[in-house]
């Protein structure tokens, strides 16, 4: 007897349809899995056997061949357990042969017959939906993740018996209610109102988010760099469903959704440790999995102790920072992942952190300090548009009752500024000021005469580099957008110059 079911696999970020064919014929008892299965798929026959037996069915003491088609794509992971088990039961005649024809079946089996959640469900469902499939049998824990996407029937299944009963028609599984995107309320764990003082840093964060600029925070330990960075997602504009699905898709592939339910509605905040390798950060491994920069897509990538990251790792960030995508090529896989993230880097002023402090002694030698700072190359420094120094807040500031501005108020301004940019750049293929090319800058960054004169003075007086110069203009463009001004005025340039002021002190240039 032959049974055919549909399941889904992943190639990179995209899903691909896999036909699971099970044939039972007379012969010595034996199970063969063909169709380029990896180890997890090969082992599936043991789980399937135990699950079938422990669910109260008899396992066929005959020859079983499982074919995963198309046979030339590598099959990975455990998603095929459930379709294989159901295929065997179907071939034994437990349920009608065409009952599961228009279903996509995904799930891992436990030995007792329970269905376990798997990774990467969302990209599979999206792809299958686009191919016209409307019925999905998914592990119960994965149901929510898929349920925001489109109009379809999701049958959450808890164990093999339920699945079998459904196809026999004896006990139908209720479809999972489709969730509405607009019902989602995002709750942020951090809020700008909790940050006392740090006016300048908060303002810099607002500008950075408004124009999608990258941010460098310099400050002694305990000055609140991490706190500020963690609060940045709370002033990013709310995610659209498409963005949310894209984020969830990437996280789903990386297995980051394990143990969490549903879809990612919050901007990701990723803070890898400085021991991270290049593959960990940009993506890689034999399966070309996404790295931290892709997991931070539409969110914040926070690199604390920035100079302690290996130089090669930091330099590897430069290309994705420019392009917003990263292509990972490995022997067995080649994948392009999106990586539109906002980089927030943080560092101490010197290795011990007390440089410049009047009350704490800095124990570093001038050479150590220079070596520490020189780990940040000038091209990389130039890619961080705003540089800001954070100072430890006095105790009195911390206990002051006066609440600072909330994230919501800041977000409103950010949204307005971003809207202006989207409108302005709708024909230019870019979204934000940070992406302006020199050609577009000439077109859109018109300045008043006194602003231009001022910029020239600042360029000479502060010894701005050529890149630093264009960064000042881009930041000034964002400041003007925040103020709702079409041309860049003198005061916008004046403020923008301040956010490169640290360079002269620390690196001798701006």
């Amino acid at each position: 007897m032959l049974a055919k079911l549909n399941s889904y696999g992943l190639t990179g970020i995209e899903g691909c349809l896999i036909n699971v064919e099970v044939d039972i014929s007379s012969g010595l008892q034996r199970v063969d899995t063909v169709g380029l299965p990896d180890n997890a798929v090969k082992e599936s026959k043991e789980r399937v056997r135990s699950a079938i037996c422990n669910s109260g069915y008899a396992y066929p003491e005959m020859r079983v061949v499982v074919n995963l088609a198309p046979a030339d794509i590598k099959k990975e992971g455990t998603v095929y357990d459930l379709p294989i088990a159901l295929g065997i039961l179907c071939a034994r005649g437990i349920f009608p042969i065409h009952a599961a024809d228009d279903y996509i079946i995904i799930g891992e089996l436990a030995l007792d017959g329970r269905v376990r959640p798997v990774t990467g469900v969302l990209p599979m469902v999206i792809n299958a939906y686009e191919r016209g499939f409307r019925n999905f049998m998914l592990p119960y824990e994965n149901a929510e993740e898929a349920s925001y996407f489109g109009d379809m029937n999701i049958y959450p299944v808890k164990n093999l018996n339920e699945a079998c009963g459904h196809f026999r028609g004896t006990r139908l599984i209720e479809t999972f209610p489709q969730l509405k995107w607009k019902d989602i309320k995002v709750r942020h764990t951090h809020d700008f109102s909790e940050i006392k003082g740090q006016q300048q840093a908060k303002r810099a964060a607002e500008i950075a988010v408004a124009g999608n600029h990258n941010l460098l925070l310099i400050g002694s330990p305990g000055s609140g760099k991490t706190m500020l960075a963690r609060s940045i997602p709370s002033i990013l504009p709310d995610l659209t469903m498409e963005e949310s699905l894209e984020i969830t898709r990437i996280h789903s592939i990386a297995g980051e959704l394990r143990g969490k339910s549903g879809i990612i509605t919050e901007h990701p905040f990723r803070a890898p440790h400085h021991s991270a390798s290049i593959p960990a950060l940009v993506g890689g491994g034999p399966r070309a999995l996404p790295g931290e920069i892709s997991l931070a897509h539409y969110g914040v990538l926070f690199l604390d102790e920035f100079p302690l990251f290996p130089t090669a790792v930091l330099e590897a960030l430069r290309q994705p920072l420019e392009d917003g995508i990263v292509t990972i090529t490995r022997a067995s896989a080649k994948t392009t992942y999106p990586a539109e993230f906002m980089l927030v880097a943080a560092m101490n002023p010197c290795p011990c952190g007390n440089f410049g402090s009047k009350t704490k002694e800095c124990r570093c030698t001038p050479m150590q300090i220079e070596r520490y700072r020189n780990r940040i190359s000038t091209p990389l420094l130039d890619r961080l548009d705003l540089h800001i120094e954070m100072i430890e807040v006095d105790y009195e500031d911390l206990i002051s009752k006066e609440k600072a501005e909330s994230s919501e108020a800041i977000r409103a301004r950010v949204c307005a500024a971003r809207k202006l940019q989207l409108e302005r750049y709708k024909d230019d293929g870019i979204l934000y000021n940070a992406q302006l090319t020199s050609q577009l800058m000439r077109k859109y960054c018109t300045m008043t005469a006194d602003a231009e004169a001022l910029l020239k003075t600042a360029y000479e007086r502060f010894k701005l580099s050529a890149r630093g110069y264009s960064r000042v203009i881009k930041v000034a463009r964002t400041i003007a957008d925040l103020a709702g001004s079409e041309t860049i005025q003198k005061q916008h340039i004046l403020e923008a110059v301040q956010y490169r002021g640290v360079d002269e002190k620390y690196w001798g240039t701006r």
């Binding site: 740090q198 300048q200 400050g219 440089f355 009350t359 030698t365 100072i391 301040q498």
Partner: protein
């Protein structure tokens, strides 16, 4: 080509063989009756009376190196590298150095070789100086040179190099600064000072008691410091932490009977603990302007430029003046300015840049701004 006399050649031989180990050289001289006697004995192949602790190879190398051809090679090599040797019997040897306990046998010089300058004043200070230290080093370096003094320093980062740079850039002085190195005179250390090194070679002199080519070693620097104070009539300490190389130089100066001056700082500043301590113990005279130093050496001038700033605020807007006034009371961060003045951050940033551009205020480490 500079010709070296017979005595000078003898010193060159001794200096090259014994190196900067002045104690050893002194003992050799004492045991053998003087430089010429020592030199002659070595040339004749007679037995040399060596000090007890001398290395075994010393007598061999003394004898090997005393040939004319070897000394000619030394002088040629120095000539090529534009180095002049000033020995204890050379004309340019600084008289002040002869007073100290262990004057070097040979000084290697790049630049002007007459080291007997009119009024040598050492200006020393921490390598990690604060903005205040930088400002004071610049002021004293420049003003001392303008008044005809010669700024002696160690070409270290921080106070030393700032004072030397400001002195070297002062036009009418023909020997504005001397830098004393802890490495060979042709070895630039630290590398950040390369430009300054060249400037000093041209305008003044870079000197060292170490043989050309000697790498900088940690233990050379305290020994070098005794020359900085020894070369000078007075030593001005700009900034010093409680325990520091700067303190060591100040102690050398006291031992050598030099005048010590110190720039007072705030009693809470870590970088002023050393200077304030010198003043408190009576070891140093506190100086408030350059005339406080020059007065001690009988140099008087009618024009007194005080380090106290007197900025013309008439061109400022009322907002800028408000910020300026706040900063006059001490360095402040943007946050503090926000609290004091009630302007928004973006406005304050704007005013600060404007004033920075006109040079009225400047950024300091730790996010502060100062006048």
């Amino acid at each position: 080509m500079r010709e070296y006399g017979q005595k000078e050649r003898a010193w060159l031989w001794l200096g090259d063989t014994v190196g900067a180990n002045v104690r050893l050289a002194e003992e050799l001289l004492y045991n053998n009756g003087g430089i010429m006697e020592l030199f002659d004995s070595a040339r004749r192949g007679a037995k040399l009376i060596l000090p007890e602790k001398a290395p075994a190879s010393l007598s061999k190398s003394l004898r090997n190196n005393c040939s004319d051809s070897f000394i000619d090679m030394l002088t040629e090599r120095m000539e090529k590298a534009h180095i002049t040797a000033v020995t204890r019997d050379s004309e340019g040897y600084p008289e002040l150095l002869r007073e100290i306990y262990d004057p070097p046998t040979v000084l290697y010089v790049k630049g002007k070789a007459d080291l007997n300058v009119k009024l040598p004043i050492a200006v020393i200070g921490s390598r990690k100086c604060t903005a205040y230290g930088k400002e004071m080093a610049a002021y004293f370096g420049r003003r001392l040179a303008e008044k005809g003094a010669c700024v002696v320093s160690g070409l270290a980062l921080g106070c030393d190099s700032i004072a030397a740079e400001n002195a070297a850039n002062t036009a009418p002085n023909d020997m504005p600064t001397i830098a004393v190195l802890g490495s060979g005179v042709d070895v630039v250390y630290p590398y950040q000072c390369a430009a300054l090194y060249n400037l000093i070679c041209e305008r003044g002199a870079v000197i060292s008691e170490y043989k050309p080519g000697t790498r900088p070693a940690r233990e050379n620097f305290p020994q070098r410091n005794r020359l900085i104070s020894g070369l000078s009539k007075g030593v001005l300490v700009i900034e010093a932490a409680a325990k520091s190389g700067t303190r060591i130089t100040a102690e050398f100066a006291l031992e050598q009977g030099r005048d010590v001056f110190a720039v007072p700082g705030r009693i809470t500043d870590l970088m002023s603990v050393g200077t304030n301590g010198l003043i408190k113990s009576g070891e140093a005279k506190s100086v408030f302007d350059v005339d406080d130093i020059l007065y001690e050496y009988g140099v008087f001038g009618p024009d007194v430029e005080k380090p106290i700033k007197d900025t013309d605020t008439s061109s400022l807007t009322s907002e800028q003046r408000e910020i300026f006034k706040a900063l006059l009371g001490g360095e402040k961060t943007v946050d503090e300015l926000c609290m004091i003045t009630d302007y928004s951050v973006s406005d304050i940033n704007m005013y600060l840049t404007e004033m920075e551009l006109s040079g009225i205020i400047k950024q300091l480490p730790n996010g502060e701004y100062g006048v």
